[in-house]
Symmetry: C2
Subunit: 228 residues, 2 copies
Protein backbone atom coordinates (compact mmCIF):
# COMPACT_ATOMS: atom_id res chain seq x y z
CA UNK A 1 0.00 0.00 0.00
CA UNK A 2 1.41 3.41 -0.92
CA UNK A 3 2.21 5.60 2.07
CA UNK A 4 2.00 9.31 2.78
CA UNK A 5 3.03 11.48 5.72
CA UNK A 6 0.39 14.14 6.39
CA UNK A 7 1.23 17.26 8.39
CA UNK A 8 -1.80 17.88 10.59
CA UNK A 9 -2.06 20.92 12.84
CA UNK A 10 -5.65 20.09 13.71
CA UNK A 11 -7.11 22.98 11.71
CA UNK A 12 -9.59 22.74 8.86
CA UNK A 13 -6.95 22.81 6.13
CA UNK A 14 -5.06 19.86 7.56
CA UNK A 15 -8.30 17.87 7.89
CA UNK A 16 -9.07 18.53 4.22
CA UNK A 17 -5.64 17.35 3.04
CA UNK A 18 -6.03 14.23 5.18
CA UNK A 19 -9.36 13.61 3.43
CA UNK A 20 -7.65 14.21 0.09
CA UNK A 21 -4.85 11.71 0.79
CA UNK A 22 -7.38 9.18 2.08
CA UNK A 23 -9.39 9.51 -1.13
CA UNK A 24 -6.17 8.93 -3.10
CA UNK A 25 -5.82 5.62 -1.22
CA UNK A 26 -2.68 6.41 0.76
CA UNK A 27 -1.92 4.67 4.00
CA UNK A 28 -1.84 7.61 6.41
CA UNK A 29 1.01 8.59 8.76
CA UNK A 30 -0.07 11.70 10.62
CA UNK A 31 2.48 14.15 12.00
CA UNK A 32 1.74 16.95 14.46
CA UNK A 33 4.18 19.49 15.83
CA UNK A 34 3.96 20.88 19.31
CA UNK A 35 5.89 24.11 19.10
CA UNK A 36 4.42 25.47 22.33
CA UNK A 37 1.55 27.42 20.80
CA UNK A 38 -1.08 28.77 23.22
CA UNK A 39 -3.79 26.39 22.06
CA UNK A 40 -1.62 23.28 21.68
CA UNK A 41 -3.76 21.11 23.97
CA UNK A 42 -6.87 21.76 21.91
CA UNK A 43 -4.99 21.36 18.63
CA UNK A 44 -3.59 18.05 19.76
CA UNK A 45 -7.09 16.81 20.60
CA UNK A 46 -8.18 17.81 17.10
CA UNK A 47 -5.13 16.00 15.68
CA UNK A 48 -5.99 12.73 17.42
CA UNK A 49 -9.69 13.06 16.58
CA UNK A 50 -8.85 13.51 12.89
CA UNK A 51 -6.34 10.60 13.03
CA UNK A 52 -9.00 8.34 14.51
CA UNK A 53 -11.66 9.46 12.04
CA UNK A 54 -9.38 8.61 9.11
CA UNK A 55 -7.99 5.43 10.66
CA UNK A 56 -4.35 6.59 10.43
CA UNK A 57 -1.78 3.79 10.40
CA UNK A 58 0.53 5.73 12.72
CA UNK A 59 0.63 9.11 14.48
CA UNK A 60 3.62 11.09 15.67
CA UNK A 61 3.77 14.25 17.76
CA UNK A 62 7.13 15.99 17.79
CA UNK A 63 7.91 18.45 20.55
CA UNK A 64 9.73 21.34 18.95
CA UNK A 65 9.52 23.84 21.76
CA UNK A 66 13.19 24.59 21.24
CA UNK A 67 11.82 26.81 18.46
CA UNK A 68 11.05 29.29 21.23
CA UNK A 69 14.76 29.74 21.43
CA UNK A 70 15.07 30.52 17.72
CA UNK A 71 12.16 32.70 18.59
CA UNK A 72 10.57 35.83 17.38
CA UNK A 73 6.91 34.87 17.19
CA UNK A 74 3.79 35.72 19.16
CA UNK A 75 2.55 32.17 18.55
CA UNK A 76 5.27 30.88 20.81
CA UNK A 77 4.79 33.40 23.58
CA UNK A 78 6.99 36.24 22.36
CA UNK A 79 4.48 39.08 22.39
CA UNK A 80 0.67 39.20 22.23
CA UNK A 81 -1.50 37.62 19.54
CA UNK A 82 -2.59 40.34 17.15
CA UNK A 83 -6.35 40.78 16.90
CA UNK A 84 -7.42 41.43 13.36
CA UNK A 85 -10.76 43.19 13.63
CA UNK A 86 -10.97 43.79 9.94
CA UNK A 87 -10.59 41.33 7.10
CA UNK A 88 -9.26 44.22 5.03
CA UNK A 89 -6.18 44.35 7.20
CA UNK A 90 -5.46 40.72 6.46
CA UNK A 91 -5.95 40.80 2.73
CA UNK A 92 -3.98 43.98 2.28
CA UNK A 93 -0.85 42.44 3.68
CA UNK A 94 2.13 42.48 1.40
CA UNK A 95 5.27 40.39 1.30
CA UNK A 96 7.11 43.05 3.21
CA UNK A 97 4.55 43.05 6.00
CA UNK A 98 5.19 39.70 7.71
CA UNK A 99 2.77 39.25 10.62
CA UNK A 100 4.12 38.88 14.16
CA UNK A 101 2.76 35.31 14.31
CA UNK A 102 5.56 34.29 11.95
CA UNK A 103 7.86 31.56 13.26
CA UNK A 104 10.94 31.87 11.04
CA UNK A 105 10.85 29.20 8.35
CA UNK A 106 8.36 27.13 10.32
CA UNK A 107 7.05 25.24 7.32
CA UNK A 108 10.61 24.49 6.27
CA UNK A 109 11.29 22.92 9.65
CA UNK A 110 8.01 20.98 9.66
CA UNK A 111 8.72 19.65 6.19
CA UNK A 112 12.21 18.55 7.11
CA UNK A 113 10.77 16.37 9.90
CA UNK A 114 8.02 15.05 7.65
CA UNK A 115 10.54 14.17 4.95
CA UNK A 116 12.78 12.42 7.48
CA UNK A 117 9.85 10.28 8.63
CA UNK A 118 8.81 9.63 5.03
CA UNK A 119 12.36 8.45 4.25
CA UNK A 120 12.26 6.13 7.25
CA UNK A 121 8.99 4.43 6.29
CA UNK A 122 9.59 4.61 2.52
CA UNK A 123 6.62 6.88 1.88
CA UNK A 124 6.12 8.46 -1.54
CA UNK A 125 4.67 11.75 -0.47
CA UNK A 126 4.29 14.38 2.22
CA UNK A 127 1.02 16.34 2.26
CA UNK A 128 0.94 19.82 3.79
CA UNK A 129 -2.01 22.20 3.80
CA UNK A 130 -0.31 25.46 2.96
CA UNK A 131 -2.21 28.16 1.08
CA UNK A 132 -0.42 30.85 -0.85
CA UNK A 133 -3.13 33.51 -1.08
CA UNK A 134 -4.80 33.23 2.31
CA UNK A 135 -1.78 32.67 4.46
CA UNK A 136 -0.79 36.15 5.55
CA UNK A 137 2.33 36.43 3.44
CA UNK A 138 4.47 33.76 5.10
CA UNK A 139 7.25 33.26 2.54
CA UNK A 140 7.33 29.51 3.17
CA UNK A 141 3.71 29.23 1.99
CA UNK A 142 4.57 30.29 -1.57
CA UNK A 143 4.01 27.86 -4.40
CA UNK A 144 7.41 28.55 -5.96
CA UNK A 145 9.09 27.48 -2.74
CA UNK A 146 7.47 24.04 -2.97
CA UNK A 147 8.11 23.73 -6.68
CA UNK A 148 11.85 24.21 -6.21
CA UNK A 149 11.86 22.19 -3.00
CA UNK A 150 10.49 19.20 -4.90
CA UNK A 151 13.33 19.49 -7.38
CA UNK A 152 15.73 19.58 -4.43
CA UNK A 153 14.09 16.52 -2.82
CA UNK A 154 14.22 14.53 -6.05
CA UNK A 155 18.00 14.69 -5.58
CA UNK A 156 18.31 15.00 -1.80
CA UNK A 157 16.21 12.00 -0.67
CA UNK A 158 16.61 8.32 -1.46
CA UNK A 159 12.85 7.90 -1.97
CA UNK A 160 12.57 10.99 -4.19
CA UNK A 161 9.86 12.26 -1.90
CA UNK A 162 7.30 14.67 -3.30
CA UNK A 163 5.67 17.42 -1.23
CA UNK A 164 2.00 17.71 -2.13
CA UNK A 165 0.30 21.04 -1.48
CA UNK A 166 -3.25 20.38 -2.69
CA UNK A 167 -4.61 23.61 -1.20
CA UNK A 168 -1.89 26.00 -2.34
CA UNK A 169 -4.01 27.86 -4.90
CA UNK A 170 -7.32 27.57 -3.06
CA UNK A 171 -9.22 30.13 -1.02
CA UNK A 172 -10.68 29.23 2.36
CA UNK A 173 -14.08 29.10 0.65
CA UNK A 174 -12.74 26.59 -1.90
CA UNK A 175 -11.40 24.50 0.96
CA UNK A 176 -14.73 24.53 2.78
CA UNK A 177 -16.45 23.38 -0.43
CA UNK A 178 -13.83 20.68 -1.10
CA UNK A 179 -13.97 19.45 2.49
CA UNK A 180 -17.77 19.33 2.40
CA UNK A 181 -17.63 17.29 -0.81
CA UNK A 182 -15.13 14.89 0.82
CA UNK A 183 -17.20 14.66 4.03
CA UNK A 184 -14.33 16.05 6.07
CA UNK A 185 -15.26 16.22 9.78
CA UNK A 186 -14.94 19.99 10.28
CA UNK A 187 -16.55 19.56 13.70
CA UNK A 188 -13.37 17.80 14.89
CA UNK A 189 -11.01 20.58 13.77
CA UNK A 190 -9.72 23.61 15.69
CA UNK A 191 -8.53 26.91 14.21
CA UNK A 192 -8.55 29.55 16.96
CA UNK A 193 -5.10 30.80 18.01
CA UNK A 194 -6.41 32.22 21.28
CA UNK A 195 -9.06 30.03 22.98
CA UNK A 196 -9.44 26.31 23.61
CA UNK A 197 -13.15 26.17 24.44
CA UNK A 198 -15.06 28.57 22.16
CA UNK A 199 -13.35 30.15 19.12
CA UNK A 200 -12.53 33.79 19.93
CA UNK A 201 -13.81 35.00 16.57
CA UNK A 202 -11.22 37.78 16.60
CA UNK A 203 -7.84 36.26 15.84
CA UNK A 204 -6.63 36.06 12.28
CA UNK A 205 -7.22 32.32 12.04
CA UNK A 206 -10.83 32.65 13.26
CA UNK A 207 -11.52 35.48 10.82
CA UNK A 208 -10.14 33.55 7.85
CA UNK A 209 -12.18 30.49 8.81
CA UNK A 210 -15.39 32.50 9.32
CA UNK A 211 -14.96 34.24 6.00
CA UNK A 212 -14.32 30.93 4.24
CA UNK A 213 -17.49 29.29 5.52
CA UNK A 214 -19.52 32.43 4.85
CA UNK A 215 -18.29 32.76 1.27
CA UNK A 216 -18.94 29.06 0.64
CA UNK A 217 -22.46 29.47 2.01
CA UNK A 218 -21.91 26.59 4.42
CA UNK A 219 -22.47 26.54 8.17
CA UNK A 220 -19.35 26.00 10.31
CA UNK A 221 -20.21 23.28 12.83
CA UNK A 222 -17.94 25.07 15.37
CA UNK A 223 -19.93 28.31 15.02
CA UNK A 224 -22.61 27.96 17.68
CA UNK A 225 -23.99 31.41 16.99
CA UNK A 226 -25.61 30.13 13.79
CA UNK A 227 -24.69 33.43 12.19
CA UNK A 228 -25.20 32.30 8.61
Amino acid sequence: MKKAVIVVSGGMDSAVITGTAKKEAYELYLLHLNYGQLTEKREQKAFYDISKFYNAKETKVIDTRFLRDIGGSSLVGDGAIPESKSIVNITKRTDNDIPSTYVPFRNGIIISFAVAWAEKISAEKVFIGVIEADSSGYPDCRNGFYRHLNEALSIGTKNKIIIETPLIHKTKADIVRLGTKLNVPFELTWSCYQNEDIPCGKCESCLLRMRGFKQAGIKDPLNKKDSL
Copy 2:
Protein backbone atom coordinates in the same frame (compact mmCIF):
# COMPACT_ATOMS: atom_id res chain seq x y z
CA MET B 1 28.44 43.73 9.62
CA LYS B 2 27.17 40.93 7.40
CA LYS B 3 26.15 37.82 9.30
CA ALA B 4 26.36 34.10 8.63
CA VAL B 5 25.11 31.03 10.48
CA ILE B 6 27.71 28.26 10.37
CA VAL B 7 26.76 24.64 11.01
CA VAL B 8 29.57 23.22 13.13
CA SER B 9 29.67 19.57 14.15
CA GLY B 10 33.14 19.95 15.59
CA GLY B 11 34.81 17.97 12.83
CA MET B 12 37.57 19.18 10.51
CA ASP B 13 35.20 20.16 7.69
CA SER B 14 33.13 22.41 9.91
CA ALA B 15 36.28 24.08 11.24
CA VAL B 16 37.42 24.80 7.68
CA ILE B 17 34.08 26.39 6.69
CA THR B 18 34.22 28.51 9.84
CA GLY B 19 37.67 29.68 8.77
CA THR B 20 36.31 30.36 5.27
CA ALA B 21 33.41 32.47 6.57
CA LYS B 22 35.77 34.33 8.90
CA LYS B 23 38.06 35.13 5.99
CA GLU B 24 35.05 36.46 4.07
CA ALA B 25 34.46 38.87 7.00
CA TYR B 26 31.16 37.47 8.24
CA GLU B 27 30.06 37.93 11.82
CA LEU B 28 29.81 34.31 12.97
CA TYR B 29 26.77 32.59 14.53
CA LEU B 30 27.73 28.99 15.23
CA LEU B 31 25.11 26.25 15.38
CA HIS B 32 25.66 22.74 16.72
CA LEU B 33 23.15 19.93 16.83
CA ASN B 34 23.06 17.37 19.59
CA TYR B 35 21.22 14.46 18.04
CA GLY B 36 22.39 12.02 20.68
CA GLN B 37 25.43 10.69 18.85
CA LEU B 38 27.85 8.52 20.84
CA THR B 39 30.63 11.11 20.87
CA GLU B 40 28.44 14.18 21.44
CA LYS B 41 30.30 15.33 24.54
CA ARG B 42 33.61 15.40 22.69
CA GLU B 43 32.05 17.01 19.62
CA GLN B 44 30.50 19.73 21.75
CA LYS B 45 33.87 20.49 23.30
CA ALA B 46 35.29 20.82 19.79
CA PHE B 47 32.36 23.07 18.84
CA TYR B 48 33.00 25.46 21.73
CA ASP B 49 36.76 25.39 21.18
CA ILE B 50 36.28 26.34 17.52
CA SER B 51 33.73 29.04 18.47
CA LYS B 52 36.18 30.56 20.90
CA PHE B 53 39.08 30.37 18.46
CA TYR B 54 37.08 32.25 15.82
CA ASN B 55 35.50 34.69 18.29
CA ALA B 56 31.92 33.77 17.32
CA LYS B 57 29.31 36.42 18.05
CA GLU B 58 26.83 33.83 19.29
CA THR B 59 26.62 30.04 19.69
CA LYS B 60 23.59 27.79 19.79
CA VAL B 61 23.28 24.09 20.56
CA ILE B 62 19.95 22.53 19.63
CA ASP B 63 18.96 19.26 21.24
CA THR B 64 17.35 17.18 18.54
CA ARG B 65 17.33 13.83 20.26
CA PHE B 66 13.74 13.38 19.15
CA LEU B 67 15.40 12.30 15.90
CA ARG B 68 15.96 8.96 17.63
CA ASP B 69 12.25 8.52 17.30
CA ILE B 70 12.33 9.16 13.55
CA GLY B 71 15.21 6.80 13.85
CA GLY B 72 16.93 4.25 11.74
CA SER B 73 20.59 5.13 12.27
CA SER B 74 23.51 3.56 14.07
CA LEU B 75 24.75 7.07 14.90
CA VAL B 76 21.79 7.52 17.23
CA GLY B 77 22.05 4.14 18.93
CA ASP B 78 20.03 1.99 16.56
CA GLY B 79 22.61 -0.70 15.80
CA ALA B 80 26.40 -0.83 15.99
CA ILE B 81 28.79 1.57 14.29
CA PRO B 82 30.13 -0.11 11.17
CA GLU B 83 33.89 -0.51 11.11
CA SER B 84 35.34 0.15 7.70
CA LYS B 85 38.68 -1.63 7.63
CA SER B 86 39.22 -0.88 3.99
CA ILE B 87 39.05 2.46 2.21
CA VAL B 88 37.95 0.52 -0.85
CA ASN B 89 34.70 -0.31 0.85
CA ILE B 90 34.02 3.36 1.40
CA THR B 91 34.87 4.63 -2.03
CA LYS B 92 33.00 1.87 -3.81
CA ARG B 93 29.70 2.85 -2.24
CA THR B 94 26.94 3.70 -4.66
CA ASP B 95 23.79 5.73 -4.26
CA ASN B 96 21.81 2.57 -3.64
CA ASP B 97 24.08 1.52 -0.82
CA ILE B 98 23.25 4.03 1.92
CA PRO B 99 25.37 3.36 5.00
CA SER B 100 23.70 2.44 8.28
CA THR B 101 24.98 5.67 9.83
CA TYR B 102 22.40 7.55 7.73
CA VAL B 103 19.94 9.66 9.73
CA PRO B 104 17.10 10.23 7.28
CA PHE B 105 17.39 13.70 5.75
CA ARG B 106 19.64 14.88 8.56
CA ASN B 107 21.20 17.69 6.59
CA GLY B 108 17.73 18.84 5.55
CA ILE B 109 16.71 19.09 9.20
CA ILE B 110 19.94 20.83 10.22
CA ILE B 111 19.54 23.34 7.42
CA SER B 112 15.95 24.10 8.34
CA PHE B 113 17.09 25.10 11.85
CA ALA B 114 20.01 27.09 10.51
CA VAL B 115 17.75 28.94 8.07
CA ALA B 116 15.23 29.69 10.84
CA TRP B 117 18.01 31.21 12.95
CA ALA B 118 19.37 33.09 9.96
CA GLU B 119 15.90 34.54 9.32
CA LYS B 120 15.67 35.60 12.96
CA ILE B 121 18.97 37.49 12.99
CA SER B 122 18.74 38.69 9.37
CA ALA B 123 21.79 36.77 8.23
CA GLU B 124 22.65 36.52 4.55
CA LYS B 125 24.06 33.04 4.49
CA VAL B 126 24.23 29.62 6.05
CA PHE B 127 27.52 27.72 5.70
CA ILE B 128 27.51 23.93 5.86
CA GLY B 129 30.48 21.64 5.29
CA VAL B 130 28.92 18.93 3.17
CA ILE B 131 31.05 17.08 0.63
CA GLU B 132 29.48 15.28 -2.29
CA ALA B 133 32.25 12.86 -3.21
CA ASP B 134 33.61 11.86 0.18
CA SER B 135 30.39 11.65 2.12
CA SER B 136 29.35 8.04 1.79
CA GLY B 137 26.47 8.60 -0.61
CA TYR B 138 24.12 10.52 1.69
CA PRO B 139 21.58 11.95 -0.77
CA ASP B 140 21.36 15.23 1.17
CA CYS B 141 25.07 15.85 0.51
CA ARG B 142 24.58 16.16 -3.25
CA ASN B 143 25.37 19.45 -4.94
CA GLY B 144 22.12 19.42 -6.95
CA PHE B 145 20.13 19.28 -3.73
CA TYR B 146 21.71 22.54 -2.55
CA ARG B 147 21.44 24.20 -5.94
CA HIS B 148 17.67 23.64 -6.03
CA LEU B 149 17.33 24.37 -2.32
CA ASN B 150 18.82 27.82 -2.87
CA GLU B 151 16.23 28.50 -5.55
CA ALA B 152 13.56 27.39 -3.07
CA LEU B 153 14.99 29.63 -0.32
CA SER B 154 15.13 32.66 -2.61
CA ILE B 155 11.32 32.41 -2.57
CA GLY B 156 10.64 30.75 0.79
CA THR B 157 12.59 33.09 3.10
CA LYS B 158 12.21 36.81 3.67
CA ASN B 159 15.98 37.32 3.72
CA LYS B 160 16.54 35.23 0.56
CA ILE B 161 19.05 33.18 2.48
CA ILE B 162 21.77 31.40 0.56
CA ILE B 163 23.24 28.06 1.62
CA GLU B 164 26.98 28.04 1.04
CA THR B 165 28.66 24.68 0.60
CA PRO B 166 32.28 25.67 0.05
CA LEU B 167 33.58 22.09 0.39
CA ILE B 168 31.02 20.32 -1.78
CA HIS B 169 33.39 19.47 -4.63
CA LYS B 170 36.50 19.03 -2.51
CA THR B 171 38.25 15.87 -1.38
CA LYS B 172 39.37 15.47 2.21
CA ALA B 173 42.93 16.13 1.00
CA ASP B 174 41.78 19.43 -0.60
CA ILE B 175 40.14 20.36 2.71
CA VAL B 176 43.29 19.62 4.69
CA ARG B 177 45.26 21.82 2.29
CA LEU B 178 42.68 24.63 2.41
CA GLY B 179 42.47 24.46 6.19
CA THR B 180 46.24 24.55 6.51
CA LYS B 181 46.38 27.62 4.25
CA LEU B 182 43.71 29.31 6.40
CA ASN B 183 45.46 28.32 9.65
CA VAL B 184 42.45 26.33 10.79
CA PRO B 185 43.03 24.82 14.26
CA PHE B 186 42.72 21.14 13.32
CA GLU B 187 43.99 20.26 16.79
CA LEU B 188 40.69 21.53 18.23
CA THR B 189 38.47 19.39 15.98
CA TRP B 190 37.05 15.91 16.53
CA SER B 191 36.08 13.38 13.86
CA CYS B 192 35.88 9.92 15.45
CA TYR B 193 32.37 8.42 15.66
CA GLN B 194 33.40 5.89 18.29
CA ASN B 195 35.81 7.28 20.90
CA GLU B 196 36.08 10.50 22.88
CA ASP B 197 39.70 10.26 24.03
CA ILE B 198 41.85 8.83 21.23
CA PRO B 199 40.48 8.49 17.67
CA CYS B 200 39.65 4.81 17.04
CA GLY B 201 41.25 4.88 13.59
CA LYS B 202 38.72 2.33 12.38
CA CYS B 203 35.39 4.09 11.92
CA GLU B 204 34.53 5.58 8.57
CA SER B 205 35.06 9.13 9.77
CA CYS B 206 38.54 8.33 11.11
CA LEU B 207 39.50 6.55 7.89
CA LEU B 208 38.40 9.46 5.71
CA ARG B 209 40.30 11.92 7.89
CA MET B 210 43.46 9.82 7.94
CA ARG B 211 43.38 9.40 4.18
CA GLY B 212 42.84 13.14 3.70
CA PHE B 213 45.86 14.15 5.78
CA LYS B 214 47.98 11.41 4.21
CA GLN B 215 47.12 12.44 0.64
CA ALA B 216 47.74 16.10 1.46
CA GLY B 217 51.11 15.17 2.92
CA ILE B 218 50.31 16.97 6.15
CA LYS B 219 50.50 15.67 9.71
CA ASP B 220 47.21 15.44 11.59
CA PRO B 221 47.77 17.05 15.01
CA LEU B 222 45.31 14.49 16.47
CA ASN B 223 47.41 11.58 15.18
CA LYS B 224 49.81 10.91 18.02
CA LYS B 225 51.34 7.93 16.26
CA ASP B 226 53.22 10.22 13.92
CA SER B 227 52.54 7.74 11.13
CA LEU B 228 53.31 10.10 8.26
